[in-house]
């Protein structure tokens, strides 16, 4: 070959082309090396995005699933919470590029994803999900549907609000937790407890360094029968019940019985393990599963009960949301992914593995009736903890209205809470400001209270 281009120039061209190609592939590497819409029997590598506790459960379901589905391998990735929301949002905004096949999604995000990215998730109704409806709690099931009733996620865990408390400390202070019926009585008890044991009643992330700093208020607001939005989608943030809930936090804070602990998983675990020095942990049913691992020394000292009412005779149970598994519509292995979701969430075998490893409260109702499930919980002094949760779940609870603007509402609320807890602002004024800001941002009306 007598090419006129000298070898050196040729090499330069090759180099330039190679780099350009490399740049090109980097630009569109969505990991879609799949085989079209692979069937459940064929070779498929599934990836699941989840976080700590549910991840351990899903991991445990993998061996059973892989044994029954030769050729399919499942990788569980602990992306971390809240990092997972950024990752999913970015993938969705990129038209599904780079998303995992299966995603673990909180009920508070589900509505927003379905509304903002209607084509992001696989329509599970078309794959037969509707047949599973009677096995799952109705409120959660409905939260993963679009306006036409198509299902985009299967409930993984269902949560109810409960209060964990240090039985030993209450005993030491001569207080009877069973006799406490309202939060105001608990506040009084907290003052006595602080005097006698030096322990704070509960902790708050006063500077709201994380979104979970609003958890306590969300519980109290639900017990008041209200939430960020009402049934019409109007802003209920500055209504009477919402203000009473924040006022309670202010009174407890002013009484000096609220520890200031930043948010996040590690700080929550500090409280669980006793390092946070708090007497109660208002939380949700899923937390029962984290105590044995994170506070083995405190076995028998932690106890759990339903939340007191805000007023005598008021609600003593509140929904604490839940999570779903959803399948990405961009997944090349949608059928295999759907098989896994069904195995992990809607079969006894898969559910037992998930529950055993994660301790999360299952959404799959047939699980609730098994013998193992109703067995006494050794960690909580032989109490039938799961029975307590089932009872709480069957209580009358106000519905939650998350809407697509939940994230904005949460942010507006936490800022108001910070003004109240850190700078001593008036709860009504702070929430009025938050409601107005939110109205300006979203174009929603403020509900009459």
């Amino acid at each position: 070959m007598t090419s006129t281009i000298p070898r050196r120039a040729r090499r330069a061209v090759a180099l330039a082309l190679g780099t350009a190609l490399l740049a090109g592939t980097a630009a569109c590497s969505g990991g879609d090396a799949g085989d079209g819409d692979g069937t459940a029997g064929g070779d498929a590598e599934l990836t699941i995005w989840t976080w700590d506790q549910p991840g351990e459960g899903l991991e445990a379901a993998v061996p059973g699933f892989e044994a029954a589905h030769p050729g399919v391998t499942v990788t569980v990735e602990n992306v971390g919470n809240p990092a997972i929301w950024d990752k999913i949002t970015t993938g969705m905004a990129a038209g599904g590029q780079g998303l995992a096949d299966i995603m673990n999604i909180g009920v508070d995000y589900m509505g927003n994803y379905i509304e903002t990215f209607p084509d992001g998730f696989a329509n599970l109704s078309e794959m037969g999900a509707d047949d599973l409806e009677q096995d799952f709690p109705a409120t959660l099931w409905g939260s993963a549907q679009d306006a036409d009733g198509n299902v985009y996620g299967i409930p993984m865990e269902v949560n109810t609000n409960v209060v964990f408390y240090r039985d030993d400390l209450f005993d030491q202070a001569g207080l009877d937790m069973d006799a406490i019926e309202t939060w105001d009585q608990l506040l009084e008890a907290g003052i006595t407890l602080k005097e006698k044991t030096g322990t704070d009643l509960f902790a708050m992330d006063k500077a709201a360094s994380q979104a979970d700093s609003a958890n306590m208020w969300q519980l109290l607001a639900r017990l008041e029968g209200t939430f960020f939005f009402d049934a019409d989608g109007d802003i209920a943030l500055s209504g009477e019940g919402a203000v009473r809930a924040l006022d309670f936090l202010k009174r407890a804070n002013d009484a000096g019985i609220v520890a200031d602990v930043p948010g996040g998983w590690d700080n929550l675990m500090r409280q669980v393990s006793g390092d946070g020095n708090v007497a109660i942990l208002p939380g949700a049913s899923w937390m029962a599963g984290v105590f044995p691992d994170n506070a083995p020394d405190l076995a028998g000292k932690w106890a759990v009960r339903r939340p007191p009412a805000m007023e005598e005779g008021g609600y003593t149970a509140a929904s604490a949301g839940g999570t779903f598994l959803a399948v990405a519509s961009s997944s090349p292995h949608k059928d295999a992914a759907w098989e896994f979701v069904q195995y992990a969430l809607a079969s006894m075998e898969g559910q037992e593995a998930v529950y055993e490893a994660s301790g999360l409260f299952p959404s799959y109702a047939p699980m609730w009736e098994t013998e193992d499930f109703s067995a006494p919980n050794e960690y909580f002094d032989g109490m039938k903890v799961n029975q307590l949760f089932i009872e709480a779940l069957s209580q009358d609870t106000p519905p939650d209205y998350y809407t697509a603007d939940y994230a904005r509402a949460l942010r507006a609320y936490t800022d108001a809470q910070t003004r109240v807890l850190v700078s001593g602002a008036d709860p009504q004024e702070a929430l009025d400001e938050a409601a107005e800001l939110l109205a300006g941002q979203t174009g929603r009306d403020i509900a009459d209270s």
């Binding site: 006129t4 281009i5 120039a9 330069a12 061209v13 330039a16 082309l17 780099t19 350009a20 740049a23 090109g24 630009a27 929301w85 950024d86 949002t89 970015t90 905004a93 927003n112 509304e115 903002t116 990215f117 209607p118 084509d119 006063k206 500077a207 709201a208 360094s209 994380q210 200031d260 930043p262 697509a404 603007d405 994230a407 904005r408 942010r411 936490t414 800022d415 910070t418 003004r419 850190v422 700078s423 800001l437 300006g440 941002q441």
Partner: protein, 305 residues
């Protein structure tokens, strides 16, 4: 096939023109990877963001809304707060950092200092530190209950400082963290400039009996002027785009005290899924950066004449 004499001039011409073409094409070939990368990762996203800034997402579709996002921005109290916060951090942090950087550079340049290389590296190191490690480090230092800084304050009998929980101190925490992060970078730029100041000037000044302070004021600082000019503009641009520190340390809180424009853009895009609005914020930020940088260049250039 035999080569005839008549072919020779034509062939020579062809070869020459081909050679010229090759000579002209070679630079473009070498530039191709960069140009491609630029088009893919800079030009395309920039133009797409411009398109997004004119839309809002509704029912899974991008709907064209014209300048709505921009007019909404004007009436958004959080945007103005973010702008105020950013400017406040800018006017406190940049001067402090640059003064420290000058002093460090002068010290590093001094022959009296032992182990200069090690010190230079140690001050430059923070600039390459990963965001997550940085966040963990400062969160640990500034924790109210058991952070190292409060431990030291407590040990010497001073009151503990709520670094991340108080609106005022949270801003200060951001300033401290940024200063730690970027001072070394500026010091290195000054150091490079210092090497270009002729030593004869110092010698002559010493002979004339100038004190160390006079030498700093009349020789070092005027000599540093081009580098000062560069770092003021670069630091201003960087601070206006501030995101890392509030993201890892305070999440923009407490009560939006450390909300910066970059942070507000991020919140709108990735927490509120309002990509159109976030893109509009991005374009307004770009305009602000452009205007401020231009103004600084005009003012500083006039001064240096």
């Amino acid at each position: 096939m035999s080569v005839t004499a008549a072919d020779a001039p034509a062939r020579a011409r062809r070869t020459r023109s081909r050679r010229r073409l090759r000579a002209q094409a070679t630079p473009y070939l070498f530039l191709a990877p960069v140009v491609l990368l630029f088009l893919t990762f800079k030009a395309y996203p920039t133009l797409y963001a411009l398109y997004l800034s004119l839309t809002t997402r509704s029912g899974g579709q991008d709907v064209f809304v014209g300048a709505d996002n921009f007019t909404r921005l004007l009436g958004d109290p959080l945007f103005w707060q973010a702008l105020r916060n950013t400017v406040l951090i800018l006017v406190t942090q940049v001067p402090v950092m640059l003064v420290i950087a000058v002093l460090l550079a002068v010290a590093f340049n001094s022959a009296l200092l032992k182990g200069r290389a090690v010190l230079r590296v140690s001050y430059f190191l923070p600039i390459v530190m990963g965001l997550v490690a940085y966040g963990i480090l400062f969160s640990a230092l500034m924790n109210y209950q058991d952070g190292l800084i409060n431990f030291v304050l407590d040990a010497v009998g001073l009151p503990k400082v709520p670094w991340l929980a108080d609106p005022f101190w949270a801003k200060m925490a951001i300033v401290v963290a940024m200063t730690w992060h970027y001072t070394g970078n500026n010091a290195v730029i000054y150091l490079a400039q210092l090497q270009s100041i002729p030593t004869e000037l110092y010698e002559a000044a010493s002979v004339d009996g100038a004190t160390a302070r006079q030498r700093l004021w009349h020789i070092t600082l005027p000599g540093l002027r081009p580098a000062l000019f560069l770092t003021v503009v670069l630091s201003t641009i960087g601070t206006l785009q501030l995101f890392d520190e509030p993201y890892v340390l305070t999440n923009g809180g407490p009560d939006n005290a450390t909300l910066t424009i970059g942070m507000y853009l991020y919140q709108n895009a990735f927490q509120f899924f309002d990509f159109g609005y976030a893109s509009a914020i991005g374009y307004v930020l770009t305009a602000i950066v452009g205007v401020v940088a231009l103004a600084q260049m005009l003012i500083l250039r006039r001064r240096s004449r």
